[in-house]
Symmetry: C2
Subunit: 186 residues, 2 copies
């Protein structure tokens, strides 16, 4: 067994837990290869997520402001949502941008994906860039959404980050493709 192989844990039992709407809970009993100790691991089975860095012709970024139920505060973020069953991440990106903001464009580029939290989430967050985005329709928020849509120049977006209104880790990893975050995150 190589050193790398010795870090893989065997799953010795798995059990479905409660459905929490955003994710289904699963419990895995996994055995530590180091000491045979068994751990009951909580896993949240979630659909993949997608978010979009939408650049306008004037190099502004499309942002959404909304009240977030986790932190009970209004945040500044980029358009984002869930990849529906049977949908590609690009189709989800196009749809979420259109529904949340009314913006569209044909110039899409895949930036890659991150793992939101591999410790307990099984999903990916796909980052998409779209260039020359423009408003092509009215936003169509569902009944459970309430969004303010706007455009911000890079300096304005930097201030949102510096002043703490944009702290969503997945918005930041997407924006990290577009500009250097180092001077901003203090």
């Amino acid at each position: 067994m190589s050193e790398k192989e010795r870090i893989v844990w065997e799953c010795i039992r798995t059990e479905t837990g409660p459905d929490l709407r955003l994710f289904r809970v699963r419990f895995d009993w996994v055995r530590n290869p180091r000491n045979a100790h068994t751990v009951k691991a909580t896993v949240l089975e979630a659909p993949d997520w997608v978010n979009v860095v939408a650049l306008t012709r004037e190099t502004k970024i499309v942002v959404v402001q909304q009240y977030r139920f986790g932190t009970r505060a209004a945040t500044t973020e980029i358009p984002a949502g869930i990849v529906e069953v049977g949908e590609t991440s690009k189709a989800a990106a196009v749809r979420e941008l259109r529904e949340e903001t009314g913006y569209g464009s044909d110039e899409w580029e895949y930036l890659g994906y991150v793992e939101p939290n591999p410790a307990f989430l099984d999903n990916r967050c796909h980052h998409w860039l779209v260039r020359n985005a423009e408003q092509v329709s009215r936003p169509e928020p569902d009944a459970g959404e309430n969004l303010l849509v706007g455009e911000m120049g890079l300096d304005e977006l930097r201030r949102e980050i510096e002043e703490g209104r944009l702290r969503h880790s997945l918005a930041l990893t997407a924006l990290a493709y577009v500009f250097d975050l180092r001077p901003l995150l203090k």
Copy 2:
């Protein structure tokens, strides 16, 4: 009411859900100020988290490799953990670095915090930098941990990101303080 005030939702009922070990579930019934529609929101009440960019005298970064139960895969990450009740985020950073890797130093700098996911998590992830870190003791993993500890130069760490072995969003937001991620994340 200002435009900003109109996006805040009123919580009209709250209920405790199952204890999932990593977090306690809470359900909030919140009213959409746009249309008075009520949403049952799932909130995960979690302790704050902390992670550490530990730089050695030779400008290498201390990394940990472990099997992650969410993605069922081995990952490369930076040392990280939970802020215990009554603990400061700095004390948690010092403790987690010591327990997971055996490294220590006195030269700590707070980098700031991000919100792991304000949509359904109520917590923060605090990022700490420590300079001139060196191995001062043996790692003391608890029974439910199994970690490979190593040091990587910046070029080696860039390859871990480029080749997809380091995708944890919170490790990336911490590392975004230290070097420009733009060329790496494709």
